[in-house]
Assembly symmetry: C2
Homo-oligomer: 121 residues x 2
DNA sequence: TAGAGTGTTTAGTATTAAGTAAACTTTTAC
DNA sequence: GTAAAAGTTTACTTAATACTAAACACTCTA
């Protein structure tokens, strides 16, 4: 990699929207809340550096009050929680995932619904 | 990390079993087939170094004629294919995975079966 | 009994991801 | 028009992952 414009643009958009009503969302203060340097955040927002690692992105999403999966997806990263979930069932879950590949979002959601029903079996 | 005895032991076991009937499974020759140095393989098999990255583990599994998920799981790594699958459906699949967390292997397999049936809907 | 082949040890290196400090420029508020 | 605050730039750093080359020691066999 070497920068990600879409992630940076979206991040700046979200941060500046928050800044309109809350002065702790300046670049410098937001960087500090997230736990990164202003230098780094500036470069990330302008798409010059790669997005930070997943944990920091999740922290950003929490502070900005958005779904972390949106930002993670723009950053092309995976929530590390998912890796843990998969490692807990290292044979069944890879099989499931390979099976649902090729299904549409809607079909996957139907399946998720069935999983919920199955819980009550 | 700093070494993984279980992975190393299993790897050596599998390689030595193959070696009994096929002389290309010496440590040096196997290392070359996999694309790593004998130095590294020696340390990995004795649990002194961490397992190689996922791609090399998959190559090993292929050469050793075993399921790559077994070795990946011992190495505590995830098949990079799964990350790709998740990134293709970055909202639906995280939801599905978080939902199946806590389900038993058997329940997950039932669900995989339903995915197969759903394909014919 | 030496040469070929085996695994091992010593002593590192290469690559990538994930950043930082400090000085600088620009903007804002007064 | 200046002080404070905001964002940016230049020039590097740090930490982790994933390894390697070369020399060594042991074993086997011809």
């Amino acid at each position: 990699m070497a920068g990600n414009k879409k992630f940076g643009d979206r991040l700046r958009e979200l941060r500046e929207a928050k800044l309109k009503t809350n002065p702790v969302f300046t670049l410098r203060k937001f960087a500090e809340s997230v736990g990164i340097s202003p230098t780094f955040l500036s470069k990330v927002e302008r798409g010059e550096f790669d997005p930070p690692k997943a944990e920091k992105i999740i922290k950003m999403a929490t502070l900005l009050d958005v779904d972390s999966d949106e930002l993670l997806s723009l950053a092309n990263k995976m929530d590390p929680e998912l890796e843990e979930i998969i490692k807990e069932k290292p044979t069944a879950l890879p099989d499931l995932l390979r099976h649902v590949r090729g299904m549409s979002e809607a079909e996957i959601r139907k399946l998720t619904q069935r999983a919920r029903e199955q819980e009550q079996d």
